[in-house]
């Protein structure tokens, strides 16, 4: 009996240690092979990777006078289909991104619908902190105030991300971020009426190469068993298309490269929402 009790304590201590050290990696893994500055190593190195919220990309799209198109959103009717943790995390990100799109474009009715569905997904994942009752009340009270809805949506997104980080749910965080990022890039692509390398939205789409690099960094910190290899490999494949942009000299992106990236983004998105 005593041995079992000790085993339980030991197991719980290990579990706790794993949880709290999610972002901690041995120094050697953090050294860029090719870097001149990063060879300073100390006893313990914590590495955190961030990407801008999709709301920033939507603000650029909005400023470029793109039109809101409801067809770009993932249908809220699909919510009951997502019954695994992985699918829920991915689609929480997708719906959170859709919520951001609706708020930035001031579509208040859709904002409320997408807030409800995002909250449902967050509840399923136990993320009540990010979408608690106070926020629901704030939404209710500000239904006619687009700027307040924008602030609330921004708050909920960043709180949900922080909550996942703090809880050490390292395996769910990259999935949620992947979902929200893919959805925002897909919406950006669909907001391009006609390809032009100098178009503001097209330029912002090329910027996404750097966000993708950071997302892939997040996956690298995950264990092999939780890495979601299929999604990771598809993102790597997409990165290859973005990498081709570095060889361009005359223009930032060609029509062919844009089509290739668009096609891969759409394919990944279709898989995530299926």
């Amino acid at each position: 009996m005593k041995i079992n009790y000790l085993k339980l304590l030991l197991f719980s201590s290990i579990s706790l240690a794993m949880c709290s050290c999610n972002n901690t990696t041995p120094p050697s893994e953090n050294i860029l092979e090719d870097s001149t500055e990063t060879k300073e190593v100390s006893e313990l190195q914590k590495s955190i990777v961030k990407i801008p919220s999709p709301i920033e990309l939507f603000s650029f799209i909005y400023d470029a006078n793109a039109k809101f198109n409801k067809e770009n959103l993932n249908s809220i009717d699909k919510v009951s289909k997502y019954n695994t943790k992985q699918k829920q995390a991915l689609n929480l990100g997708i719906y959170a991104s859709d919520l951001g799109y609706c708020t930035v474009f001031k579509h208040n009715k859709e904002t409320f619908s997408y807030f409800s569905v995002t909250k449902k997904m967050a509840d399923n994942l136990g993320l009540t902190e990010g979408f608690d009752k106070k926020i629901v009340n704030r939404i209710d009270q500000n239904m006619s105030n687009s700027d307040s809805l924008y602030q609330i949506s921004n708050d909920s997104y960043s709180t949900a991300i922080s909550f996942l980080e703090q809880q050490g749910q390292g395996n769910l965080l990259p999935l949620m971020i992947t979902g929200s990022w893919i959805e925002s890039v897909n919406i950006a692509i669909k907001s391009v009426d006609k390809f032009d390398a100098n178009n503001e939205i097209v330029i912002r789409i090329t910027d996404q190469a750097l966000l993708l690099e950071n997302i892939l960094e997040m996956y690298k910190s995950m264990g092999e068993d939780t890495k979601e290899a299929d999604i990771y490999n598809k993102l790597l494949n997409l990165q290859q298309s973005f990498d081709k942009l570095y060889d361009n000299t005359d223009q930032i992106i060609t029509k062919r490269q844009f089509d290739e990236i668009s096609s891969k983004v759409k394919a990944i998105r279709a898989q995530l929402i299926s």
């Binding site: 579990s15 870097s35 500055e37 100390s42 801008p52 980080e165 950071n214 570095y246």
Partner: protein, 217 residues
């Protein structure tokens, strides 16, 4: 009786674990709520990429993030004063393409004679008649993209500045590297990396509740 004691022990253990976990969650959450250096915040929005962590003496930490081009950002690190003289740098990993020759291929291209209608001419044996031969030299390159860090700001060299402000011309990745001086390893305090973006008055965001025409519902 024994099983009752055992159950009691399990309950106590689970309660201890739960409390520890709560402390862990809350200490990080506390770091987020802790507003160090309020005077540095300004009108920037810090929600998107700021990072809040609890560190101990001797720890180093890095936050890797992306700044969009043509946007104004303010970056600074503020820590629990008990952590001592924390040093931090903002670095920009610059991509450098290094090319080296992998191999040189030499191929001989043969050009055959054609008649006035563009058809190939053959000799008596039926072989195509060679007009000229050209040696094509094809160099195969190894392209290696490497990241070289460029230090943009070092708080030790800018003791008069509390924060680093930048408006990148194009979208770029940045890293903030934080280093906590040595001290009592059992102590842990918050060290927060603030990454703020100046909200730019949107061209289309001026009127509250205004919805543009032409949107597809």
């Amino acid at each position: 009786m024994k099983s009752k004691i055992y159950m009691k022990k399990i309950v106590i253990t689970l309660a201890v674990i739960f409390c520890n976990l709560l402390v862990f969650i809350q200490t990080n959450a506390q770091c987020e709520k802790e507003k160090f250096c309020k005077e540095n915040l300004g009108d920037y929005d810090y929600r998107s990429q700021s990072s809040f962590a609890e560190l101990s003496p001797g720890d180093t930490s890095s936050v890797n993030f992306v700044l969009y081009g043509n946007q104004r950002y303010r970056i600074f690190v503020c820590s629990d004063p008990e952590l001592g003289d924390v040093s931090w740098k903002v670095v920009r990993p610059e991509r450098v393409t290094k090319r080296s020759i992998a191999s040189i291929k030499k191929d001989t291209a043969v050009i055959y004679q054609v008649n006035e209608t563009g058809d190939y001419i053959t000799d008596e044996s039926g072989n195509l008649v060679v007009k000229s031969k050209k040696v094509n030299v094809d160099t195969l390159w190894n392209t290696q993209r490497v990241a070289v860090d460029k230090v943009m700001f070092d708080n030790k060299k800018n003791s008069d500045k509390m924060f680093f402000e930048v408006t990148p011309k194009k979208t770029e990745r940045y890293i903030v590297r934080v280093s906590i001086p040595d001290g009592d390893p059992n102590f842990a305090g918050c060290s927060n990396v603030y990454i703020g973006k100046l909200p730019i008055e949107s061209k289309n965001f001026s009127k509250q509740g205004h919805q543009r025409t032409g949107d597809t519902h």
